[in-house]
């Protein structure tokens, strides 16, 4: 019975810790999203804004998968499993970007410079 009581106590403590982590994370996600929305209207260089957006999105992405999806508390196998799928997806994205790289296309089509910059930044980050 004592062992049960001890286990229950440790379970409640662990869940309480997680509960506070979830609340903090919700605030962090809200702040990061607000920053993303504000940052696009600031008069900074496009490359800086694009890079900031990519970094902020990555931070939000990993915050959710690590804490909300419990990957930080779970076995490493699950993390590796998900990362393998994610890596294949990122690899596909990069391969497609290289296949449709600006050098292979008619320059007249590239009036939309920001997206080209985004592609380049993304490839650089990846």
């Amino acid at each position: 019975m004592n062992a049960h009581a001890l286990s229950l106590e440790s379970l409640i403590k662990e869940e309480a810790k997680r509960y506070h982590a979830f609340i903090n994370l919700a605030f962090i996600l809200a702040i990061l999203t607000s920053t993303e929305i504000v940052i696009i209207f600031l008069p900074f260089a496009s490359w800086l804004i694009v890079t900031s957006l990519v970094v902020l999105s990555l931070v939000k992405f990993f915050c959710v998968i690590l804490w909300f999806m419990h990957l930080i508390y779970d076995r490493i196998l699950l993390f590796l499993l998900f990362m393998s799928g994610l890596l294949i997806a990122v690899g596909t994205v990069i391969a497609l970007m290289f296949l449709f790289s600006p050098n292979d296309l008619d320059r007249s089509l590239f009036s939309f410079n920001t997206l080209s910059m985004f592609f380049n930044s993304f490839c650089f980050v990846a």
């Binding site: 049960h4 286990s7 229950l8 379970l11 869940e15 997680r18 509960y19 979830f22 609340i23 994370l25 919700a26 996600l29 809200a30 999203t33 993303e36 929305i37 696009i40 209207f41 496009s46 804004i49 694009v50 957006l53 990519v54 902020l56 999105s57 939000k60 992405f61 959710v64 998968i65 804490w67 909300f68 999806m69 419990h70 779970d74 076995r75 196998l77 699950l78 499993l81 998900f82 393998s84 799928g85 994610l86 294949i88 997806a89 990122v90 596909t92 994205v93 497609l96 970007m97 449709f100 296309l105 089509l109 590239f110 009036s111 939309f112 920001t114 997206l115 080209s116 985004f118 592609f119």
Partner: protein
Amino acid sequence: MNSDISSAATVDALHHEEHSSTGIENKKLMMWLFLASDCMFFGTLITTHLIYRKLYPSGAAEEGILNIKNTFNIELTSFSTFILLMSSFLMALAVSAMHKGQLQSFRKNVLGVIFFGLIFLGCQVYEFTEFSMGNPTAGIPPLTLSNSIFGSTFYLMTGTHGTHVAIGVLWLVAMFFYSFSGRMNIHSAIDVEVAGLYWHFVDIVWIVIFTAVYLIEYI
């Protein structure tokens, strides 16, 4: 009726180890495998949209050049993004409550997730309706599935995401009603966790879509 599950049952469940070669519950493992494959699915959808956006910057609209910035409603999209993020938070609390055996708390949080999910879907329906009608007086042409490349890739990608959200809502509604059947116990925590994983995945996909599809247009 005592809705909370007894502490003894909670502790018993703690000691209930899944007998699998990986030491991970099969349901959970399968859901992570599915999510890994779904990453590839959404990865290709988002990339297709971005590549076509780059190849056809004008959008090839039938009625005038497409100015996406005027078509998009960033305030509404930001609101729905917040809603989805907060629904993810409530889902995490629902999973935590179920692990502690607090059925009442689980129900409240799941109800919140369902409500937020429905708000998100409502916003998406409103957004799609606005886009498809356009605003001729403001010089904003309609954006439909077939009148431009941008429309085709945009609706396919966001529509697929919306379908995922709708499936998630239906799943959680079923789980909510099941919790009143009296058959939901501490061993059901794994089922709630699996549903939670799906819901959080929908959230992370939106995090990427929000930045790569919406915000990038405003730079």
